[in-house]
Amino acid sequence: MSLNLPLDPAAGRPGMGTDDLAREPVVVLRPRSAWRRLWDSTAFRRAVILLVLALCWEGYGRLLHDPLLFPPLSATLAAMADGVRDGTLLDRTATSLRVLAAGYCAGVVAAIVLTSLAVSTRIGSDLVATLTAMFNPLPAVALLPLALLWFGLGMPSLVFVIVHSVLWPLALNAYSGFLSVPETQRMVGRNIGLRGVAYIALILIPAAFPSILAGLKIGWAFAWRTLIAAELVFGVSARSGGLGWFIFENRNNLQTENVFAGLLTVVLIGLIVDSVFFRTIEALTVRRWGTAAT
């Protein structure tokens, strides 16, 4: 150890560098501008897009000035308000949703049966794989003529095509979901002593849930489209038709603003179910679990 002063001035004050750094003010957190934060919100950006689209619609409708071909947004909204006020639009929507609920539930039950069959036996899995491969690409509306022949005009035919549109995509997704449950999670379930129904309910179904939910979403979208399309072909059973029939009927009467009102209702219901109902389920489950597919 030397008592002489060190030649290098910095060596004599070893802490100097760090002290200087500590004294210099460093901005670690800086608030971002309000506009920046607003623009980062997806909801806000989408609202802006919607507003722009609405303005375009209104502007073009007024410019064209031909309500028979393209009524502006304001006329469509007025027709919608009228429809709600006199009850026809709500009535038609309720009819459609009733048929949809019946068909959707029946389709889900059928998919559960089919999936159970597929996961429990090898021949069952072959059967389901073959059936889904065959029927999944077949548009449900293509079965409508046959359904009319078998079940006649009315609700049973509609339910039949909806079941067809829900069953295959849901069964396919649920089955592949069960197949892709990680082996480790299966082993953990058996390790803590789960067997039989408890094992399926507490391990397999939650583990496959992201795929099941995706299947339910696809099934819903298919069912809704199929229903409206089927109602366009024949919507009137007895007295009450559905939304598809409402659109078709008003086109025949050349009440184009009502056609647009019907279409807007179809879109709105689709949006609400997808972005409110399914989005909420997703937020409570797969997004919270970190297992969301997208």
Binding site: I192, W289, T291
Partner: protein, 289 residues
């Protein structure tokens, strides 16, 4: 030559220096009855066109508080052997007995910790993962399970993460939760299948120390699979070295008291070298010097 370090060739497989008396039913009447006893266990698995023997006539036993390491190169069937003890694979020959009872299926008396981070159920919070395992095993009520789960998490230092979902945790934290879950179940034997293999070196070292700490706190019986010689010596009180194709017991070492503090020492390095030579010398050639 080295205190606390006993080696043996294939002939010296019995780890017990004590003589054991067998009764007429074949059960051992000893002060420390083996927790686990494997006798001539053979494991085979089928590929589409052949039957492969993964483990060939392996016998060993474990006493309470043993930390037994199964060490070997990949393909030596050490994980299969662990899964057989876990009850996930039935042996084709021989028997595996836990406290005298034949193992026929998985159960919470043999909790397993896997290498895979997916072993935590993603749809349950950290506390839910531990508590639901306890509750499902029906040995604790819901309230008692929750209380035990909190205590177990506190032991591995994860109290703060109790209500988080597993996907927000780091790899090391996930493994800690899995260990907490397994230990809270109070299994007869804890099975660990390369639990630290997917972790970074620093985390791995910390976790190894923590595991030994937990053992000192409340000694449990541990069967641990690894392919790291260092980890085997650090964690184990006994090491069984397996040879591959098919898996057979190659050698058996006692290595208690060789922890991280002893890592640079002569005994540690010497044992490391011996096992290293054993693993990298073809069978039949002498590895002893």
């Amino acid at each position: 030559m080295f205190a606390g370090l006993r080696t043996g060739g294939v002939a010296d497989l019995d780890p017990s220096p004590r003589a054991m008396r067998y009764t007429d039913v074949g059960r051992v009447r000893d002060a420390a009855e083996p927790v686990l006893r494997l006798e001539n266990v053979t494991l085979r698995y089928a590929t589409p066109d052949r039957l492969i023997t993964a483990i060939h006539r392996v016998s060993f036993h474990m006493r309470e508080r043993d930390r037994l390491i199964l060490l070997g190169p990949s393909g030596c069937g050490k994980s299969s052997l662990l899964k057989a003890v876990g009850g996930f694979i039935r042996p084709d020959e021989g028997s595996i007995r836990l406290k005298g009872r034949e193992i026929t299926r998985p159960g919470p008396d043999r909790m397993m910790v896997f290498q895979d981070f997916e072993q935590l159920l993603p749809w349950k919070t950290v506390i839910g993962n531990v508590a639901s395992a306890l509750f499902v095993s029906r040995r604790w009520t819901r309230a008692a399970a929750l209380e035990r789960a909190h205590a177990a998490l506190a032991k591995v230092g994860l109290t703060r993460c109790a209500t988080d979902y597993p996907h927000t945790l780091s790899g090391g934290m996930k493994q800690r939760v899995a260990i907490a879950r397994a230990m809270a179940m109070e299994p007869e034997i804890l099975l660990m299948d390369e639990p630290y293999a997917a972790l970074d070196a620093l985390t791995r070292r910390n976790m190894q120390d923590e595991l030994l700490e937990l053992w000192r706190d409340l000694p449990f019986t541990l069967l641990f699979v690894t392919h790291s010689i260092e980890e085997a010596i650090l964690i184990g009180s006994r090491i069984i070295v397996l040879s591959p194709h098919p898996g057979r017991i190659r050698a058996h070492y006692d290595c208690d008291r060789l922890d991280h503090a002893a890592q640079g020492g002569e005994a540690f390095r010497s044992l490391h070298l011996r096992i290293h030579e054993l693993l990298f010398t073809p069978e039949g050639e002498s590895s002893c010097r």
